[in-house]
Symmetry: C2
Subunit: 339 residues, 2 copies
Amino acid sequence: MSTLNVALDIMGGDFGPSETVPAAVQALSLLPQLNLILVGNETSVTPLLRQHGLLNHPRVRFVHASQVVGMGDKPIVALRTLKDSSMRVVLDLVKSGAADACVSAGNTGALMAMAKCVLKSLPGVDRPALIKALPTVAGKRTVMLDLGANVSCDADTLLQFAVMGSVVAELVEGIASPRVALLNVGEEEIKGNDLVRHSAELLRQCPAIHFAGFIEGDCLFTGQADVIVCDGFVGNVALKTAEGVVRMMGQLAGYPRKKRSFLGLIAGFMLKRRFSYLNPDQYNGASLLGLRGIVVKSHGRAERRALSTAILLAAQEAKHQLPLQIADRLESVFSDRDL
Amino acid sequence: MSTLNVALDIMGGDFGPSETVPAAVQALSLLPQLNLILVGNETSVTPLLRQHGLLNHPRVRFVHASQVVGMGDKPIVALRTLKDSSMRVVLDLVKSGAADACVSAGNTGALMAMAKCVLKSLPGVDRPALIKALPTVAGKRTVMLDLGANVSCDADTLLQFAVMGSVVAELVEGIASPRVALLNVGEEEIKGNDLVRHSAELLRQCPAIHFAGFIEGDCLFTGQADVIVCDGFVGNVALKTAEGVVRMMGQLAGYPRKKRSFLGLIAGFMLKRRFSYLNPDQYNGASLLGLRGIVVKSHGRAERRALSTAILLAAQEAKHQLPLQIADRLESVFSDRDL
């Protein structure tokens, strides 16, 4: 059984070590092949590591980093001045090969900027993309990209996203010949702006992609596509809109306007059970795809369970050697196109 | 008390006259100033009109239209060949002044194409926009535009949307000095694509607009803005995503995977009550703004209650003489800008 080495930025996220350290414990207990490299400030976290039995743990190594990237730090400033931050060090560990993947719940903009700079893009990738698996009513998950790494894209970029998304759906989600759909304002061919119409032409002509046409915003969670492709502006707005609606409904369900009634309590309980698989804990972790290394971004607000999901996702991507597989697929697709 | 004359396309929508006719009855009972001009196929609907007491109703007039626009008809074809359709006739009634506003639940693309052609844009409006009032957890509603009339926009167009949206928020929603936000992928000034950053500059320089900065997708329903402006591609995806999530949660709440338990029944009932104000019945009706007449599009799936909401919205816009007010505001804003 080969080991999977994941570097974890234990300083990142809204809650920092108080959640990342217990998340490490959970992830280790769930995946026997997992080895963790915990990166953070030694002085401040040693007591917590001791408390959780991670100080001399056979599958845990600790690496000190003197700096921390703040949630409000500008990406360009973080990139230039925080070279010994826990976020930067986990990326350096991936680059050197000491880690197979890394996870951070810190500042998204800084993580993307640092990851691109440290790890570089794979050949054939113009722009890395943020991808995430969404829960669907059909049971299987749908991966969606880009979720905000690129606010302006051209059709060639969306084609690359489609290829990369297909590889993730196959390897990580276990879906053979995944159906790829382009997010649009209607399903008919004539609908949409120049970008989606031009992208649809490219996808239709690409034999390596199972193109399933356009999909509308109300079908993101129906499971009718396995890969949903869009530019990062639209993807970010759509994903955040969905999160906002779920949160609003949770608020409405949990906090009746006057006072909590007995039936209200029952309804709240039932809701929690019924919607458990929409729980962000179950699908935390967006991956930055297209780099020469695996980078998983956890939600900043993630608590230990959700954080451990992100760590396991990184390990799974490492097990499948995702960057290598993506590079191979891109090479075969684009050499096909050149024929 | 002056009357408000609304023309209703009774053939439109997924259910046609079986829902539009009862909706007419409801709207008439709710608003004493309302007079309706019902437009449809005389032969097929006369029995239904008689059954609902609308045949010789003092506040109802019937106009025959020999054609119907189908949900699958292409806009350009409908525009050219369906000149005696119920959808076209309601627009003609608005143009001639016989009606103060019109309502259709039919084919959105055809309605937009016909409305633009028949009613023409107001001076100062490059492109009409679809606007809708969204429910928020704060109680007051937020209007959002464009929801799909224009899949590509420039910054000048978004500025016009902001002005038109402000007029709707003031007059229809009763909000003084409405806060206008641009939908973006982050709240910081540096975030977003060229379109939103350039639009933000224009909005900041426009004294007639209370510009509140950027807003993200997860804040559409929080009530932190009164007017949300975006291009029609992003707006359509965001609105449909929200609808899709609400529908998915409704499905999950209503249909447990195995069988419906007693607690499940209670939870379903509570959910329905708790979320009643998210019910599409309460906020059905998107308006096509920027034309020389009032056009309200009802959701195609709307039933009688929701349809009557759309009729009342049209009447309210007529009462406020919305096109006139928008024209005045645009004129004052753009003459200010030229100074």
